[in-house]
């Protein structure tokens, strides 16, 4: 993937993707030659965990996995005391449109490993896991190979770099469920249980994996840590905006000419990313709508292209930065098709534990199918909007909201198109014989 950093017209240095395509970067040798593990050495030689924490806090680094919570603050929640503490790297990357962690792990696995060791040191964790989505077989293999190298060099395990610090690190592959990227669902899955979210509180920092204190961060968040040590937290904070510091990997996909991952300075105008870097929609097409932060983010329209790409500006525009994945939909695509595809994904991925998400996603899909088949009326759009409102804020985890927010925003912003779609489909299918297929009998039960 091509990598570029853009900042308000000026070009700034890439941080994560600097030389990412260098041949052999995934090996310890090349990574080290380029200065890899120097940050770790500096940390273990000269810094206390509190020093590291102070740098993380000074950097202002916000989580790159979706919620944008300050990493330094999360580390500071880890309780003191002698016990097993855990660090988990969330590499489940299942949010539709998101593929940045994959490139990072594939091309520079040691950057992640180094970041994890430093983060574990700061958090007082002695056991670490990389929970990687099952489909990322190749990346898991690369990480495993890198881990073997790191262990052989005394970078992971007991007495790391001859210090007193000890850390075990295990790569664990998931089995293909979006919900296992939600941090507490991930914990259950890692413990070998069905991947269902847990009630919070207790938060993972207090009672996480095996009831122990646990720090969970996204791949990109952790991979940034060595750079913060190298640059110094204050220096890192100078990149980006005041409340959205640093650079962000953005996966751009959909109707653009140059889809891919781009590293941008936070605060870059969105138009610059979508048009400048990704080349915008094909000739003659315009942006109808776009998801700024993965499929869970409320959609923005062509009118919002000048919103700066950072956490707060996007929130102010009614959406979110989320996982940092821009999906562009141009005017050739019916909004109903987008909504249906999306709703089906969430219906399929809902864990089914809590009522509003389980029932609301299924209901929404049924309604959208009727809209698509001309079996709906505009009143159904009101019901659909209301169902989304009934989901938002009422679920156990935010998967339900992750469907309801974008669907709600689509219905609100493209109501005319939905109504026109219904009209057109009704004309096409006047007798309703193009029926959405009802669910078949789902299971043949146990003993009769």
């Amino acid at each position: 993937m091509s990598t570029t950093t853009a900042s308000n017209g000026e070009r700034a240095q890439p941080i994560l993707f600097r030389g990412i395509d260098e041949e052999g970067l995934h090996t310890l040798e090349v990574y080290r030659r380029r200065g890899g593990y120097d940050s770790l050495k500096r940390v273990l030689d000269a810094m206390s965990p509190a020093d590291v924490l102070a740098e993380l806090q000074a950097s202002g680094l916000r989580g790159r996995g979706g919620a944008g919570f300050q990493m330094g603050k999360k580390v500071s929640f880890m309780p003191a005391g002698q016990m097993d503490k855990y660090l988990i790297c969330n590499a489940d990357e299942s949010e539709p449109g998101t593929f940045k962690d994959r490139e990072l792990m594939q091309k520079s696995p040691h950057m992640l490993i180094e970041g994890m060791i430093i983060a574990a040191y700061a958090a007082g964790a002695n056991r670490a896991f990389i929970y990687i989505r099952g489909e990322y077989q190749a990346q898991a293999d690369i990480l495993d190979a890198a881990l073997v190298e790191a262990q052989a060099e005394g970078l992971v395990g007991e007495r790391i770099l001859d210090s007193d610090f000890e850390l075990t690190l295990v790569v664990h592959r998931g089995a293909g469920a979006y919900i296992c990227g939600e941090e507490t669902g991930l914990l259950d899955s890692l413990e070998g249980k069905r991947g269902n979210p847990r009630l919070k509180p207790p938060f993972p920092a207090n009672q996480g994996l095996y009831q122990g204190p646990t720090l969970i961060n996204n791949v990109e968040t952790l991979a940034t840590v060595p750079h913060i040590i190298r640059m110094g937290g204050a220096e890192y904070a100078k990149v980006g905006t005041e409340t959205s510091t640093g650079t962000k990997l953005v996966s751009v996909s959909g109707n653009v000419q140059r889809p891919g991952n781009y590293e941008v300075e936070l605060g870059t105008p969105s138009r610059e990313i979508i048009y400048g870097l990704a080349g915008g929609p094909p000739e003659g097409r315009t942006v109808k709508l776009w998801f700024p932060g993965g499929s869970s983010a409320p959609v923005l329209t062509g009118d919002d292209l000048d919103v700066p790409y950072d956490f707060d500006a996007l929130a102010k525009a009614g959406s979110m930065l989320g996982s940092g994945a821009i999906i562009v939909v141009d005017d050739s695509v019916p909004v109903v098709a987008v909504a249906l595809k999306l709703a089906k994904f969430y219906k399929h991925e809902s864990c089914g534990k809590c009522t509003p998400c389980r029932e609301g996603t299924r209901w929404t899909v049924s309604m959208l199918e009727r809209v698509d088949n001309g079996l709906a009326t505009p009143m159904d759009l009101d019901i659909m909007a209301s169902v989304q409102e009934q989901i938002i804020g009422n679920c156990l985890c935010v998967l339900g909201d992750a469907m309801a927010m974008p669907i709600g925003s689509m219905v609100a912003k493209f109501r005319d198109e939905f109504e026109a779609h219904i009209e057109a489909a009704r004309t096409r299918n006047p007798f309703g014989d193009e029926q959405p297929s009802p669910d078949p009998v789902l299971v043949q039960g146990a003993a009769a």
Binding site: P356, R358, G445
Partner: protein, 850 residues
């Protein structure tokens, strides 16, 4: 872990100030202010809330999002709103969501009329539906097991049943399969959910998704009445509510007593009510005529019985057992001692320690309660398998270990289902409980040199013992626990099986146990002590009522002075010697050989066994517990009240009345001059209770009203001071005879499964669980004898032999085999392949878990 202290705080709910215990969940705290927050998935019995259904959303001042009241602990000054527009909208939304896929087939649903989903839809729902899509469909109903039907369309996925299976009974069978709206409750591979406590999920289910197969379509809530009583099918004496329609018991539900059952029932207690109404039940008196038992009038049967007892006098023996009430026990020993004039009275067919030791073991200061099991620092399970012997206590132990990190040691001859939960499990040779407690006592007392010898005579090791003392003293296992208890006394509960003190050396074993208790300083310590698992359901009550060969009511000196009484253990010998000729069995079972040796057998029983059919002279029909009134005493000393739920079936008469009649009749024959001589003056059940309370000093002043629905633990009453003083050790202990070295080098251990007992066999729904005779053995032992899993073998023992099927169990110690039987006693045994039988072997019933 000691019980947590409770601080009261003040919070506001819907404008009212309410005092509540800090950290109570909002839904519970709100109740204290008469505010109801609807819930589906919340059930505190199941442990931590899961927050799945979202029905309980409320507004809390200062928190922007609505919060689940079931998982939010209340804090001082919290302001909670359950009546705002926002909350109302959320509640209506959840009800609407729950109903979109719900079939609403209430007219044909067993739950209709007592359905939380109906109630909450009515109370909190919007009353309309906007859902016009096709609903989710499942095949329905299906048999989740022979006892439970599942209708997956009605399931609201509240997780209760699955949590029960995973976290309460820990049978780990129920799971949720698939995800999203396709999620359904199932066992992993679709096998039937058969487990000792499975029926609880029916009661837990907030909808009609899980229904009782035997109860299905039998009644509607407006057809039935609930009657509270106590289940007397085992010593756990769970509090139950019997569902009655037209004088028939149709269902048994838990009546939730935290001091007794924690709101659970085992499947025996839940389904064996069926045996109340089966045709096999004896409902008329019978007398043997022409070699056969024939129905006769009560007058005739009572005359025959009274005549036989009166004639035999001191050559009669009386044995009580099972669920006989305290009143029956009291009247029975009066009948024997006052009217018949015989000292041979007992309630322990297996014998046991004498009066003094029994008093020491039952001393109020040494009694632990059932809830103590859950809050103790450590629990020792000794010579009992709770799930078989007193099932509901098994759940209590699991709860303590899981939630309060109670440390658990298990010491039994047979592998225990609690081994997985235990910090330490030790095995000793069957029948060597005495040596084991002696060794444990020596270990605790730091008598190093004795320990070796005692351990080996118990068939165990010093390391194993050290593990147990380590758990009890709170030393890390493996750290080499010493005999000292520097850390001071701890809350330790020893749950011990009466089997330990049975047999000829029962007294020595009792002394050993008392020594252990003394060395752990359990006496007088709140939250610590002994908790016995008696063999008979009302074993404790019968003893306290005076049904002991050497003790009268309240373990007083028996009235018969120097006359030596024959106890239950010696009964067969007494009959063989001819010292005894006539036997009155009151809900007690003895083997056929013993019956055959008696000239006259008068049996008060609910079912005819083969032995009774062959040997009984007079049979008096016994009440089922659903028909009984009176009291029973729980092993932890709680006197509980039985109340009749239905009228007596057929010609069945109350036990107290039968005994009073017998006394009057025997009395009249003894002294023709005074026809009223023997009359005990008991005209009603409550009169019998009153006599009992007057006669047993520690029950003095109790009234049936006071017992009410919750019972009263007498050891906690002032009157407990009247308990006979007894020496509670330490005693000097001898080295008991070592484990029997068998010629065939196999030792026999016996056990009794939860599914044993006539009530299970006579309940159609439970019959499939009746265990087939099986012999459990270690694979290596089986291999050496050339037998393997499923083989038919004979298990021989002193000439006696029984047929059984081999079950290989890795956990069975080598050199030992276990057979479920009351017929053989521990001892050397031989296992041989049985000659092939004609026809295919009967298929094993669904593996009865034990």
């Amino acid at each position: 872990m000691p019980r947590p202290e409770i601080h009261m705080i003040t919070f506001t709910v819907d404008g009212r100030e309410v005092r509540a215990p800090e950290n109570a969940m909002l839904v519970d705290a709100a109740k204290l202010g008469d505010v109801e927050i609807p819930v589906f998935c919340y059930e505190p019995k199941l442990g931590q809330p899961v927050g799945a259904c979202r029905m309980c959303l409320v507004e809390i001042e200062g928190i922007p999002k609505l919060q689940t009241g079931c998982s939010t602990p209340v804090k001082d000054g919290m302001v909670v709103i359950t009546q705002s527009e926002r909350v109302k909208e959320a509640q209506e939304a959840i009800v609407e969501f729950l109903l979109v896929n719900h079939p609403l087939d209430c007219p044909v649903c067993d739950k209709g009329g007592e359905c939380p989903l109906q109630d909450i839809s009515f109370g909190w729902g919007g009353g309309r539906s906007r859902f016009i899509e096709p609903k989710r469909h499942f095949e329905k109903p299906l048999a989740l097991s022979p006892l439970i039907a599942i209708d997956r369309e009605r399931c609201i996925l509240c997780y209760r049943c699955v949590r029960f299976s995973q976290e309460i009974s820990e049978d780990y069978q129920l799971i949720l399969a698939e995800r999203s709206a396709d999620t359904y409750v199932s066992t992993f591979d679709g096998h039937p959910y058969v487990a000792p406590f499975s029926g609880n999920i029916i009661e837990l289910c907030p909808v009609g998704a899980l229904t009782s197969q035997p109860y299905r379509f039998r009644a509607r809530p407006w057809d039935i009445e609930g009657a509270g009583s106590v289940c007397t099918l085992c010593p756990a004496q769970c509090n139950v509510e019997l569902t009655v329609r037209d004088e028939r018991v149709l269902r048994v539900l838990a009546r939730q007593h935290p001091g007794v059952d924690d709101g659970w029932l085992c499947d025996k207690g839940r389904f064996a009510y069926q045996s109340v109404h089966v045709d096999e039940r004896i409902t008329r008196p019978m007398v043997r005529e022409g070699g056969e038992l024939r129905p006769v009038s009560w007058e005739r049967a009572l005359d025959e019985a009274a005549g036989a007892l009166g004639r035999a006098g001191a050559q009669s023996a009386v044995l009580a057992g099972g669920g006989a009430t305290n009143e029956e026990g009291y009247l029975l020993q009066r009948l024997a001692r006052e009217a018949v004039g015989t000292p041979h009275v007992d309630s322990r067919a297996g014998g046991g320690p004498g009066r003094e030791l029994a008093a020491a073991l039952g001393a109020p200061a040494l009694q632990a309660t059932v809830p103590d099991l859950e809050h103790a620092h450590a629990v020792l399970v000794l010579e009992t398998e709770p799930v078989d012997d007193m099932p509901i206590v098994d759940l209590r132990i699991r709860k303590g270990v899981r939630r309060n990190r109670v440390r658990l040691a298990v010491a039994t001859p047979r592998p225990s289902s609690l081994d997985r939960n235990a910090d330490v499990s030790v095995r000793y040779a069957p029948g060597c409980g005495e040596a084991f407690v002696a060794a444990l006592s020596a270990m605790l007392g730091g008598e190093g040199k004795n320990v070796d010898e005692l351990a080996s005579s118990a068939g165990t090791t010093v390391e194993a013992l050290r593990g147990v003392t380590g758990v009890l003293r709170g030393v890390e296992v493996g750290e080499g626990a010493t005999g000292s208890d520097e850390a001071g006394p701890r809350d330790i509960v020893i749950l011990w099986g009466e089997r330990l003190t049975q047999g000829r050396r029962g007294a020595a074993a009792a002394r050993g146990l008392l020594n252990v208790a003394a060395r752990l300083r359990l006496g007088g310590r709140e939250g610590a002590g002994l908790l016995e698992v008696p063999v008979a359901a009302n074993g404790r009550g019968l003893r306290e009522a005076g049904v002991l060969h050497d003790a009268g009511p309240g373990l007083s000196e028996p009235p018969h002075g120097e006359m030596a009484a024959i106890d239950g253990l010696e009964l067969p010998d007494g009959l063989a010697r001819g010292d005894l000729t006539t036997l009155l069995l009151w809900d007690a079972e003895v083997d056929a050989a013993t019956l055959a040796a008696a000239g006259t057998v008068i049996a008060h029983a609910a079912f005819l066994t083969d032995a009774l059919r062959a040997h009984a002279t007079v049979v008096l029909p016994a009440e089922s517990y659903a028909e009984k009134e009176g009291t029973v005493t729980h092993p932890d000393g709680r006197v509980q009240r039985l109340r009749p739920a239905i009228g007596r079936q057929g010609g069945v008469r109350p036990g107290w009345q039968v005994l009073a009649d017998l006394m009057a009749r025997v009395g009249a024959t003894q002294d023709p001059a005074d026809p009223g001589a023997g009359d005990p003056r008991v005209l009603t059940g409550p009169m019998a209770s009153r006599q009992l309370f007057e006669a047993v000093p520690v029950y003095a002043g109790l009234t049936l009203e006071e017992l009410g629905g919750r019972g009263v633990r007498w050891p906690a009453r002032e009157q407990a001071a009247a308990w006979p003083r007894a020496d509670a050790g330490p005693f000097g202990l001898e080295v008991p005879p070592g484990p029997v070295k068998a010629n065939g080098d196999l030792r026999l251990g016996t056990f009794r499964s939860i599914w044993a007992g006539p009530e299970v066999g006579h309940s159609p729904a439970l019959r499939f669980l009746v265990p087939k005779p099986r012999v459990e053995m270690a694979p290596a032992d089986a291999q050496r004898r050339n037998v393997t899993q499923g083989d038919h073998v004979t298990v021989g023992h002193n000439g006696a032999a029984l047929h059984a099927t081999v079950v290989l169990r890795d956990a069975v110690p080598r050199g030992t085999v276990f057979v479920e039987t009351d017929a053989l006693r521990a001892g050397p045994v031989d296992v041989r392949k049985a000659p092939p039988r004609a026809g295919p072997p009967a298929p094993d019933p669904a593996e009865a878990p034990s």
